[in-house]
Symmetry: C2
DNA sequence: GCTTGACCTGGAGCGCGCTCCAGGTTGAAG
DNA sequence: CTTCAACCTGGAGCGCGCTCCAGGTCAAGC
């Protein structure tokens, strides 16, 4: 059982983001105290950790909603959920390859500056 | 010398984006035909390739503008430009580490689905 | 009992990076 | 000479993912 601020701290999402996720139905069934305050369970935290993972890897919120919805529908959607994650993982792999490639370009550019940063340089560059 | 559509094709930016980059001063000194149409040189293309690299690695446009401005100021800013790229490269490294870590989580999640996707499954998951 | 800070809701607003549109011009091909 | 696709400009609009705000409620500590 975690207070909102604690849930925020542990998940790395802001309070506003937690409320937002609930509002759009991404996070559902979050409990309340008698006074109306949110109470996050370990289960909720598990979801938040997953969302953190998916967001950090660039999944759009709409797709996370789809996943969450499937999970709510029950176990018979497990295969579809798995497929969704696998497709995403493939996109992430592509993303990692691109990032690596462009990182290498960047490093080469920097290396180029190193050859040029003696006295008597000469270039207008990109 | 490239027509706008050719420059777009080669750089991977849309025509609108090329115009936008010029409008905000990121790309400057793009030539025109007598009739007012853009003409991109190999130099311009070089810039676009660099911008592609920086965008793909997540640099904000404001920072690319800063870089371009420095380059326009002349060779005496080379050290500062290099520093800018190095700081960016460091951020990219961090980004790659995070991406890798979350990708591993994702893979583990998928592997978990594999253990569960026999008959007689049992989980409400995240 | 009172204070104070964490929390609530509904809804507006924002920053980014484009993207689209209207209305007009250009220029190569037929 | 006509056509038509590619291009021009200025400016509005958009999709995303939050973030902020007003105005109020709750509850732990003194």
């Amino acid at each position: 059982m975690y207070a909102p601020s604690e849930a925020a701290r542990r998940s790395g999402f802001s309070l506003d983001t937690l409320r937002y996720y609930e509002k759009i139905g991404l996070l559902s069934g979050v409990g309340r105290t008698s006074g109306g305050r949110r109470v996050f369970t370990d289960d909720d935290l598990g979801w938040l950790v997953l969302f953190r993972c998916l967001r950090d890897t660039g999944m759009p919120i709409a797709q996370m909603c789809r996943y969450a919805e499937l999970a709510r529908e029950g176990e018979h959607t497990a295969a579809e959920r798995k497929a969704l994650l696998e497709e995403h993982a493939a996109r992430v792999e592509e993303q990692m390859r691109l990032l690596q490639r462009q990182y290498d370009h960047l490093r080469e550019k920097i290396r180029y500056y190193e050859t040029v940063t003696g006295p008597a340089e000469a270039t207008a560059l990109p």
